[in-house]
Symmetry: C2
Subunit: 361 residues, 2 copies
DNA sequence: CTGAAAGCGCTTACAG
DNA sequence: CTGAAAGCGCTTACAG
């Protein structure tokens, strides 16, 4: 190693053996070397501070022991979005547990040919596509490519590739059913951006639950935002002008619900006394909002873990998978929903009432 | 390519040229091939769907064009922590911008020899150590290793390696000074876990500001938590028993501040009327808390970006760097701090008062 | 038990 | 303008 990092050849020379033997002891291929040889080799490794070059190893083994996570539409903040970071966290946990490394492939545009350059290049053994947008060109490519792969997060139902997701439609359907059982009939909806599969599915669940209960939703009850707190505020402002007034609102995500809560508080409308508010996601802020937000928890981390498992299984078995793994959403009951009550709230001592009902987490 | 992925050799054969020529046109080394040759090669590439194997390229070039991010103490959730995910987001943004990929190296234990195996193995061109714990063995290794590297987040002041961080001590010092200018003199402190550099530095800033103002802090005013909301609640419960009572509390992070806020609200103590509360970090939940939390924003994403820049500069120049890049914290004034007032709050109509003072974001 | 040789897929002098 | 050859650092049959 004239001036550089020691290689297996340096170790072999120092130990006075062949590189084949070094490889054998390094991989513990028993019976192919004497104990004395093993010791000499290990000592040389130690003295030289030798570390096998994984790149070279990957080249010959055609395995990188690395999982690729491809995220499209990367402009500005991405992991700032807790959904992505939690998903990644789950993937990372499972990868580490199974001895894989993680490579993040951030695409500025959803360009399949660019994606292929970074993925089908030997640097990853398989890929997870994280929460693709509606109609993303990457989906088509993903269906056709031959490397192990799985889509994590919402994707078309007829996708010919393995995928893992929460049951968006079913969770909202169940939650709205619950609201109806609590006596609510005029239930508004703050939807998400239509270029998200998740937003579409959730809205569908809302509509179907109303329909199955014999309630005809009017389009006035539905407003859409872009998942931001600001858009939640704007949607609620509009909704507040609708007559007859609604008694509950389900929001497509927590941030919009939090925005809605703000507007309600500013207007002196009591939650949940006057209006019940339901969110989706269970972001951290939901628990510390006032009142603490009742919401549908989506097991994002578990989705990440399951995605990685499914991917690793494909890699190690050599068998492609096309199954869909669907997790149920979980209703997290806090303090923003209560049974419907026709009597107007007593606004004289709202603080006391809120305080007395607040549950400890 | 008998049954497998096409290689450069397949392209050369199909185009009827040598692999050298294929390489040359692929890299656009002008003047080394005719226009006609170029076209034949490109057509073969197209027809075969050829994509260069980056692993092979890395082996000969000794450059992977990949940045490593090493995170120690990976047990369970990691990126669930917004600090890490935001840091990673900044690193990712800069990496993508500069044409680098990202590899995440999650260490279950802070074991240098294990870390070396994953880093000094040719798979990354340099490494960023993300927010090492106090006394981490990785720090020592990081100082000694010869690959390009930078520490992102708090680290010892005498570290012999490049690092990027926020000015923890200075930011808290300035904020406490501000509180003092607002008339507060009995200022409590909810500290963080002492195995974080950041927590140590922030506490030091608090102490120094009091000292410089001629105020002697009593140990009763200081409680430490573990950065969780729960620990913030517990700390505040204890603090509330101290007499004379304090008029302001600075919290080592927002989650503990949020926990403190909860306890105060439950006890009917008005914030900021009775007690001013200051956080640190400006997590998303801080803005939607009630009252919205006044806090010190730490430019985490910018720290990530600067770390990546510093690393890439080292990689591309071949020159090691040892500079410290320190960002100032930014005071984000919301509604949880007000000037000291000796008169007790009028608890009869607290809601109205809170509402009237609430600022729009 | 041990080692010489071929090869993974590319790039880089170098010679023509 | 073009190509044969050596080599990056490792692994894997294969022969002894």
């Amino acid at each position: 190693m004239p001036g550089g990092t020691p290689t297996i050849k340096d170790v072999a020379e120092r130990a006075g053996v062949s590189v084949t033997t070094v490889t054998n002891v390094l991989h513990g291929r028993g019976g192919r070397f004497s104990e004395e040889t093993r010791e000499r080799v290990m000592q040389a490794v130690e003295e030289l501070g030798y570390r096998p070059n994984q790149i070279a190893r990957s080249l010959v083994r055609r395995r990188s022991h690395t999982l690729g996570v491809v995220v499209e539409h990367f402009r500005g903040a991405l992991l700032g979005n807790p959904y992505y970071s939690t998903l990644l966290d789950g993937i990372l946990a499972e990868a580490v547990r199974s001895g894989y490394q993680l490579k993040i492939i951030a695409l500025e545009r959803p360009d399949p040919s660019h994606a292929r350059l970074s993925i089908e290049d030997g640097s990853v053994d398989g890929a997870i596509l994280a929460a693709p947008l509606y109609g993303s060109p990457l989906l088509r490519w993903f269906e056709e490519c031959h490397i192990p792969r799985v889509v994590a997060g919402s994707s078309p139902h007829d996708l010919r590739a393995a995928c893992v997701d929460v049951d968006d439609e079913g969770s909202v359907y169940a939650a709205v059913q619950w609201l109806i059982r609590l006596g609510h009939r005029r239930i508004a909806f703050i939807g998400g951006p239509t270029n998200y599969w998740s937003a579409q599915q959730r809205e569908r669940g809302y509509l179907r639950a109303l329909h199955d209960a014999g309630i005809t939703p009017t389009s006035h009850w539905i407003r859409r935002g872009n998942y931001s707190t600001l858009s939640g505020r704007q949607a609620m402002e509009k909704l507040l002008q609708v007559r007859p007034a609604f008694s509950a609102v389900v929001c497509c995500n927590d941030w919009m619900a939090l925005g809605a809560l703000e507007v309600l508080r500013r207007r002196g409308v009591l939650v949940p006394d006057d209006i019940s508010v339901l969110g989706f996601d269970d972001v951290e802020a939901a628990a510390v909002a006032s009142p603490p937000l009742t919401t549908i928890r989506q097991p994002v981390r578990e989705i990440g873990i399951a995605s990685a498992q499914l991917l690793i299984r494909q890699i190690e078995s050599g068998q492609p998978a096309t199954e869909r793994v669907i997790f149920p959403g979980e209703l997290v009951q806090r303090d923003s929903v209560m049974p419907y009550s026709a009597e107007p709230s007593d606004r004289a001592k709202p603080l006391r009432r809120l305080r007395s009902r607040r549950r400890r987490r």
